[in-house]
């Protein structure tokens, strides 16, 4: 199968790009894909801590593009999955330490050994963004159901199209079904009406993300995590499997959920 390079981006910071990268990367590795995640947030690296790999870093992406080390010397193999790797960002340089041209060469080099290359994009629309999209075939845009996040996502979708990336998918992150139900949060359709992009998944607001990030273990490893489950389904969709997107993927299926459904039927 041809390998693909997917950039994970959002424009706005703090909406869950790094969490999404870590979870999708891990979920894809669970589906027996050979995966490498690239942290392009040079100067503010974080993907390493979300994955719990921060103590293993010797070389980084800037070392690779400057020829200080070989590419496979900088790749960190995940503790849990043999097929999962991280190429960390440099912490002491800035985003101009890598050029879009170098990024493109780097991703092309990685295509030889990996099925999926996930590029974790920094916030903003400056060179860090241009670097991250340079070698990508498709994009995942992460947005939360807030005015500021959707606005920035709209801008990012425009910039992705301008740079020739037409295969983009939306992940709506941190949806709170209770707030949606009482009309205090935009729902999926509100967001899809506004953004010209296809939906690939909805991730509920979930405390288990905080816990798993504390531990450095992605939530997809946790069977009971609702957010983890949402990410596992997105990974299957990325692999071309048809997994229906429920209106509210976070809808509880336990007793309370069934009780609610009965109430709805009765009304």
């Amino acid at each position: 199968m041809k390998s693909k390079v997917i950039v994970i981006t959002s424009g706005k910071g703090g909406v869950g790009k790094t969490t999404t990268t870590a979870n999708l990367g891990t979920a894809l590795a669970m589906l027996n894909q050979r995966v490498v995640m690239i942290d392009t947030d040079i100067g503010l690296r974080n993907l390493d801590v979300v994955l719990g790999l921060e103590n293993r870093i010797v070389f980084d992406i800037v070392d690779v593009v400057n020829g200080n080390c070989k590419l496979n010397q900088a790749l960190i193999r995940d503790k849990r999955f043999d097929g999962l790797h991280l190429l960390p960002a440099a912490q002491t340089k800035d985003k101009t330490a890598v050029t879009p041209h170098q990024m493109k060469n780097l991703t092309n080099e990685l295509r030889k050994d990996f099925d999926v290359i996930l590029v974790d994009c920094p916030a903003g629309i400056e060179q860090g963004f241009r670097n991250a999209v340079a070698g990508a075939d498709e994009a995942i845009v992460v947005a939360t159901p807030e005015v500021s996040s959707v606005r920035d996502a709209d801008r990012i979708i425009g910039l992705l199209e301008a740079s020739g990336l037409r295969d983009s998918h939306l992940v709506v992150n941190r949806l709170r079904s209770k707030m949606v139900k009482r009309g205090d949060m935009m729902d999926i359709n509100d967001i899809l009406d506004i953004l010209s992009i296809t939906l690939i998944g909805v991730v509920p607001e979930d405390e288990s993300i905080v816990v798993s990030t504390n531990r450095g273990e992605p939530a997809v490893l946790e069977n009971a995590s609702r957010a983890g489950g949402a990410y596992r389904r997105i990974a299957r969709r990325l692999m071309g499997e048809e997994v229906p997107i429920m209106a509210m993927e976070e809808e509880s299926s336990g007793f309370v959920g069934r009780f609610r459904k009965m109430l709805k039927l009765a009304r």
Partner: protein, 88 residues
């Protein structure tokens, strides 16, 4: 249950998500039109220059902005007229 009752009795009250959606729509009209406030201001000054040849207008009260309804976007200029210039 409470919010069901609330919804029945306060149908007219706007949900905060409707406010969010509406604000988002308006802000995106500006963002997508790629008309910056600076460009809009230049447009306004050029409009004044042209209209001044024909009409006496209140330049300080002149207001140019984008408005959108359900389907379309319009450039709306509100130009208070003080008087008409004599012909010739």
């Amino acid at each position: 249950m409470l919010d069901i009752l609330a919804r029945i009795f306060m149908k007219d009250a706007m949900n905060s998500k409707d406010i969010a959606r509406e604000r988002l729509r308006l802000v995106l009209v500006h963002d997508r039109s790629s008309v910056s406030p600076e460009v809009l201001n230049n447009l306004k000054e050029d409009l004044i220059k042209v209209i001044r040849q024909y009409l006496e207008i209140d330049e300080d009260a002149l207001c140019v902005n984008f408005e959108n309804d359900d389907q379309s976007v319009a450039l709306v200029a509100n130009i208070p007229v003080k008087g008409f210039r004599r012909a010739g």
